[in-house]
């Protein structure tokens, strides 16, 4: 598989005001590329939750978007830390370590990673104190 479209986005730490901007850009880019709307909706949920996680929990990071020649969309969210101490708990619906500030804004429901996993076709997460890399893929055939 070869990438026919590549974009890189930067997400800033604690930038609540712009949360969702990168996800919207990704959705727009893929819409123009002809990705079916049902797939776009799944990607939007996963991208938004992942972007929010970078803002709330990580020290910002980068998002790499690739559209492969077979129609598969790949998203890689990479942050520089501080890592997820207990991945199993982080994947448990309702479990959250979000700050009071984040919770007051309606974040921190503990549904981020569970939502991402549910809507993605493949879900791979590696985390250490040096950072977290979340790799997701979405098949255009799985609308």
């Amino acid at each position: 598989m070869a990438s026919i479209l590549h974009e890189r986005y930067v997400v800033e730490r604690d930038d609540y005001a712009n949360a969702g901007k990168v996800s919207s850009s990704i959705k727009e880019k893929l819409k123009l590329a002809g990705i079916p709307s049902a797939v776009l909706r799944r990607i939007a949920v996963a991208a938004y939750e992942s972007e929010i996680n970078m803002i709330i929990h990580a020290w910002g990071g980068t998002v790499d978007l690739d559209l492969m020649d077979d129609g598969t969309v790949r998203l890689v969210f990479k942050d520089p830390g501080p890592g997820i101490p207990d991945l199993e708990k982080a994947l448990t619906p309702g479990w959250s370590t979000a700050s009071e500030e984040a919770r007051n804004l309606g974040f921190g429901a503990g549904m981020g990673l569970p939502n991402i996993k549910r809507v993605s076709d493949t879900f791979d997460i590696i985390s250490s104190p040096e950072g977290t890399t979340l790799t997701l893929s979405f098949s255009a055939a799985n609308a």
Partner: protein
Amino acid sequence: MRISELVSKTGWKVTTPGLDLEKEIHGAYCGDLLSWVMGNGEPEQAWITVQVHMNVIAVAKLREFSCIIIADGASLPPEVTAKAEEEEIPVLESGIPVFETAKILVEAGV
């Protein structure tokens, strides 16, 4: 039901009067926890919430809601209203609690 019909029936304030109110509403979702809304909302629904910060607009756009209905007397700050207009997300204010707002939607046939 179209947003404009709902406004006619309820008299709710339209926060974004310059936007297209002829969009259809198919059902509604009530919630203030954004991940629940992202995970469980459906396109073309009206979203009833008391959250009034910038991220509400991002969630509504990404989830493709028909409109946002702000309940319980809350209202959008000017910069969030401007964002809603920029993103073309119609926003109404019901001025009454979430439950009452939802009840009226049901009675109106949404």
